[in-house]
């Protein structure tokens, strides 16, 4: 009879363990759909806390330090530590932190990853701060607010934004004897200009433009301009003829000699071709400014050419709060502060990025007076958000694998995009 209490204890232990596992598992899956009622209360100014802020761009740290100094005037006892992780490791690290409930209290989030973190319940919705009137989504570009809204719940407050334009090297246009285009232009005019420059300067190994290996700066734009979509609800947009036209654009550019080949672009990336003065035009984001600010190149910015319609991709980083933060009140106070007009104006003054808060962008355009940076702001009117899903990385890998075969002419565009659409649909169905 002596064994009985033992057996009982063991069984009780097992039951407890099973229950714990069940709770953990249900906790994980419950985070998916519904949003818990947002708890938010602006803290008193004497709140004492210590929070971490995870970011990936060392260039922006000076502006962030300024932000924190201003924040501490309001909340002197909240200590903010900035953790910089280079972009290449940022997401791997964040995923490990997410698995072990050790996410930074406040951290940067981008479009391709918001679905993953938002739908798995790792982020705190901003609904509370919005209800309290401390954050007004109307102050930020609508496309970005949509980007950070997953299943009707908004998780991130836009911190900055970027759109795509064509960086142009004036000196190479002059050397080739090709007129620098003014105002809006069409796909055909762009292709012609690129081919003309390549032909005129072929002896020097200089090309008119550089083809794309990257959706955000190149083929997503042309797909939108052709009236297509990359992702339409739960399915891929690549099977549609509009998307194929957007891909064909880049195949044509390479075929006409207007751009280096895919192999050349793999060895030396498009931005390197441009910064070494070997291509006259480069489709690039507004962030490319910082790579050019200290160079000797005489550059300006042209709007993207118009296909069936005018379009550009907009993307931006947002600040999010971890759902498991130990100091959530302080973290949310910091998130609210970073979303404020004064904080974003500070970011704009530093010049590294275009702040998201409407009306704080003036400093950016003045940071490079010779180049027409206004193009990036004007693009807001026709900007479409970067296409993302809950696990964007999975189908981004298919794009990177298949599309170069279409660009290089190795396989017909239609065949490649059809295969891509099938693979992408399968990946989306798994999400």
């Amino acid at each position: 009879m002596k064994t009985q209490p033992h057996a009982f204890a063991r069984r009780a232990l097992a039951a407890t363990a099973a229950a714990t596992v069940a709770i953990v598992i249900s906790g994980c899956s419950a985070g998916g759909g519904g949003s818990a009622p947002a708890e938010y209360e602006a803290p008193d100014s004497d709140l004492e806390a210590s929070i971490t802020y995870g970011v990936w761009d060392q260039n922006q740290v000076p502006a962030i330090e300024e932000n924190i100094a201003l924040f501490n005037e309001q909340f002197p006892n909240i200590d903010v530590t900035v953790n910089v992780t280079p972009y290449a490791e940022y997401w791997t690290k964040l995923q490990t932190q997410g698995s072990s409930d050790t996410l930074p209290d406040v951290f940067w989030m981008n479009g391709p990853n918001i679905g993953l973190y938002g739908s798995n319940g790792l982020l705190e919705p901003i609904a509370g701060a919005v209800e309290a009137g401390d954050i007004d989504p109307a102050n930020y570009p609508e496309a970005l607010v949509d980007l950070y809204t997953i299943d009707d719940v908004q998780y991130g407050v836009p911190k900055d934004f970027d759109t795509i334009g064509i960086w142009a090297n004036r000196a190479l246009f002059e050397q080739a004897g090709v007129e620098l285009p003014e105002g809006d232009w069409t796909w055909d005019e762009f292709q012609q200009t690129a081919a003309d420059i390549s032909e005129a300067l072929s002896a020097e190994g200089i090309y008119g433009a550089a083809g794309g290996m990257d959706g955000q700066t190149t083929y997503y734009n042309t797909i939108f301009q052709a009236g297509g979509t990359v992702i339409d609800g739960d399915t891929s947009g690549y099977a549609a003829p509009e998307a194929q036209a957007g891909i064909q654009f880049w195949t044509d550019l390479i075929a006409s000699g207007g751009s280096p080949t895919i192999q050349q672009l793999t060895d030396t990336t498009g931005d390197q071709w441009f910064t070494s003065g070997k291509t006259a035009m480069y489709w690039g984001g507004s962030w490319f400014r910082s790579a050019l600010i200290d160079s000797d190149l005489d550059v300006t910015v042209l709007p993207l050419p118009t296909g069936e319609e005018q379009a550009t991709v907009i993307h931006g980083v947002s600040n999010v709060v971890s759902a498991t933060s130990q100091n959530k009140q302080a973290a949310q106070a910091f998130q609210v502060f970073l979303a404020s007009e004064e904080a974003q104006a500070q970011q704009g003054e530093a010049g590294a990025v275009i702040p998201a808060f409407t009306g704080t962008q003036g400093a950016f355009t003045e940071s490079m007076p010779d180049a027409d940076l206004q193009v990036f702001l004007d693009a807001l009117e026709y900007a479409q958000p970067l296409p993302v899903s809950n696990n964007s990385a999975a189908w981004n890998a298919f794009e990177a694998e298949l599309l170069p075969q279409a660009f290089s002419g190795e396989r017909p565009v239609e065949e490649v995009t059809t295969e891509l659409a099938e693979q992408m649909d399968a990946a989306l169905a798994e999400e």
């Binding site: 953990v24 598992i25 994980c28 899956s29 791997t92 995923q95 997410g98 698995s99 993953l116 798995n120 790792l122 190994g205 290996m213 990257d214 895919i262 192999q263 050349q264 793999t266 060895d267 030396t268 696990n391 990385a393 999975a394 890998a397 990177a400 694998e401 170069p404 075969q405």
Partner: protein, 324 residues
């Protein structure tokens, strides 16, 4: 070794009945050194190492084996899936593609071992000037950071502006786009792998050379053997234990190819899916596609392949490695 019991190399003549384990322990006090006699001390001394190995090597292996039987989400929360991951993996053409690429890489890197034997012997020639300088030069790539090495080689391999194609051009050969041509990419990475492992092999082999008694060469000299004959008849056979060790290490590290490939080819390289190694395949599934269970299954397969290949090598060594 304990000094008290003083074991002798020559086995003491033992009584036939006391030798077997069946012998009654009480009547035959054995003189064999026993751990029991020293109490807990030996265990205390090995504990830090054993604990380290257990916590950082054995436990993760067991955990990975466990994960490979689950279907898991990006942030944990896994469900048991049995051998489903393995079934899917063995039906996945990418497994065989990445295995073939890894074997090609390993094969090319192994070519560096004969080269290292020759170079190490040359460096060991008596009266060679600047021998230590050469040794340092050959060893430097081994201690350099793979990523830094990769950056430099990326530039060298550049199809339009690279040094390699420039040199080939001077002799009238038009070099390929090394890192962006399917086929050529793995070879390019393997060339770098060979180059950077050469130094390690040479250092190990040089140490082996020092162990060969000089009298053998003197005797051979008297018998009129040429340098080449001496190399073949003395150096190579007596070096086989070192060559064996270097081969094992090279094969294991080649099967773990990841950083060089990733850094030289670049993550946006269109030929990467056709040039990936086993470990890159694992990385892609686990950290890009967020399929941790599937990635764990790949890791287990790589683990087993390396174990198998190493076991086979140990088997075969009896045929060609000269014992002491």
């Amino acid at each position: 070794m304990t000094t008290v019991s003083r074991p002798t190399a020559v086995p003491a003549p033992s009584t036939p009945d006391g030798a077997g384990p069946a012998g009654p322990p009480a009547h035959t006090p054995r003189r064999r050194p026993s751990l029991r006699g020293d109490g807990a001390w030996p265990w205390l001394f090995v504990t830090p190492l054993v604990a380290g190995v257990a916590v950082f090597y054995l436990w993760p292996i067991l955990q990975t084996a466990g994960y490979s039987l689950t279907e898991s989400g990006p942030f944990g929360g896994s469900t048991f899936a049995g051998i489903e991951n393995y079934l899917a993996l063995f039906a996945d053409p990418r497994l065989y593609l990445s295995l073939a690429n890894t074997l090609l890489y390993t094969g090319i890197v192994l070519l560096g071992i004969p080269l290292a034997v020759v170079l190490a012997s040359l460096l060991n020639l008596p009266g060679l000037r600047f021998a230590s300088l050469y040794r340092v030069l050959f060893f430097l790539p081994y201690v350099a950071m793979p990523t830094a090495v990769a950056m430099v080689w990326r530039v060298i391999f550049n199809g339009d502006f690279g040094l390699l194609n420039f040199l080939l051009g001077t002799v009238g050969i038009e070099g390929p786009y090394w890192i962006s041509t399917p086929g050529a990419a793995v070879v390019a990475v393997a060339i770098v792998g060979l180059w950077s492992s050469l130094g390690f092999s040479m250092i190990v082999l040089a140490a082996g050379l020092k162990n060969i008694p000089p009298e053998l060469y003197e005797a051979a000299e008297l018998d009129g053997a040429s340098r080449w004959r001496q190399f073949r008849a003395i150096t190579v056979p007596l070096l086989t234990p070192s060559i064996f060790f270097v081969t094992i290490i090279t094969v294991i590290s080649s099967f773990q190819l990841f950083d060089l490939l990733y850094a030289i080819l670049g993550s946006s390289n269109p030929v990467l899916p056709r040039s990936m190694s086993l470990v890159y395949f694992f990385y892609r599934e686990g950290f890009v596609d967020n399929d941790k269970g599937y990635a764990a299954a790949i890791a287990m397969v790589v683990f087993l392949i390396i174990g198998l290949v190493t076991a086979v090598q140990f088997r075969l060594q009896r045929r060609w490695v000269h014992g002491d």
